[in-house]
Symmetry: C2
């Protein structure tokens, strides 16, 4: 995969459709990866995304301490890693080693990118006021790396009970029906 810089204000292109993501985090010499499905874009500029990271996750603690993470988007061929990562705890093993994923240095944050994911969004904690009540971290996406092709890989979308749907390659282009100011 050849990855290019991508405008952070357009991160919605990959996150708004609701894919399962792999969140990578690091604090001092501890790192973790977690599988996450509960996230939403909140703003274009600053580029804000809310992620619900429950308190029991090792990542929750690392992100509280470091104030940083990377949101990586896997395509469907990584489903077995996605499931395995979601079913083990990061204080007991090195998930990069265990699942043969490759950490790569990020540009702005200390948390590593996951090389095998087609998109990676470097995040800084922007607002922690909802963390105690809902586990909702609001991050600013400060740097984005996206594979230049294919434009829309088949992403994984979780439906509960161990089952995922997969995004098709059908693209409905309706831009002619949009008002110009809506085409952000």
């Amino acid at each position: 995969m050849h990855k290019i810089d991508f405008p952070v204000s357009k991160a919605r292109k990959y996150l708004e459709p609701g894919p399962v993501v792999l969140l990578s985090s690091q604090f001092e010499d501890h790192h973790d990866i977690m599988t996450l499905g509960w996230h939403t874009i909140l703003e274009f500029s600053p580029s804000l995304v809310g992620c619900m990271i429950a308190g029991g996750n090792y990542s929750h603690e690392l992100i509280r301490q470091s104030g940083q993470c990377v949101i990586n988007v896997p395509s469907a061929d990584l489903v077995d890693s996605v499931v395995a990562i979601g079913n083990c705890h990061g204080d007991r093993l090195d998930k990069f080693d265990a699942f043969k994923l490759t950490p790569e240095p990020a540009t702005v944050v200390n948390a590593p990118l996951i090389k095998e994911c087609f998109a990676s969004f470097e995040c800084q904690l922007y607002d922690d006021s909802m963390v105690n009540r809902y586990g909702l971290f609001i991050f600013e996406i400060v740097k984005a790396h996206v594979a230049d092709k294919p434009e829309f890989p088949p992403t994984l979308h979780y439906t509960g009970e161990g089952r995922f749907t997969v995004m098709s390659n059908t693209l409905l282009d309706k831009h002619r029906d949009f008002k110009p100011e809506m085409l952000i």
Copy 2:
């Protein structure tokens, strides 16, 4: 479509994959429908969902006043209505009439269900503390109506710039690889 009652704690089955939804709302004799893509499940029980509804939308005002809405999930055959609804303003026309959608009475809330959508989730405003800062309404899903088949209709997923991807009918069942306590 034959719709059945659905457990509210399992609303994630249809919302977590990130579909574009149609939000219907009512306050006194004013109603509206808006197209929405920025939402995330936040909790199973109570069944909580966060929706980013920007202040310029007529729905924003109706929901502030009524504290209620219905989240309706359209399948891809409704794409033209979804686009048209997202590109007009509800104080100027009746969107049910204009787009030939059928309002149906909800069970708990005053906002109408949209008959043509395969799933409808009746919502009560649960927490408005993030509305001023981010337009983020946290709702409790209090009643769910879902078509009994097909189990996973081809939902619409917005990617910006007037273009939608469509969910495939590929289902990856990985429940055997999950720890029992993770199979919520």
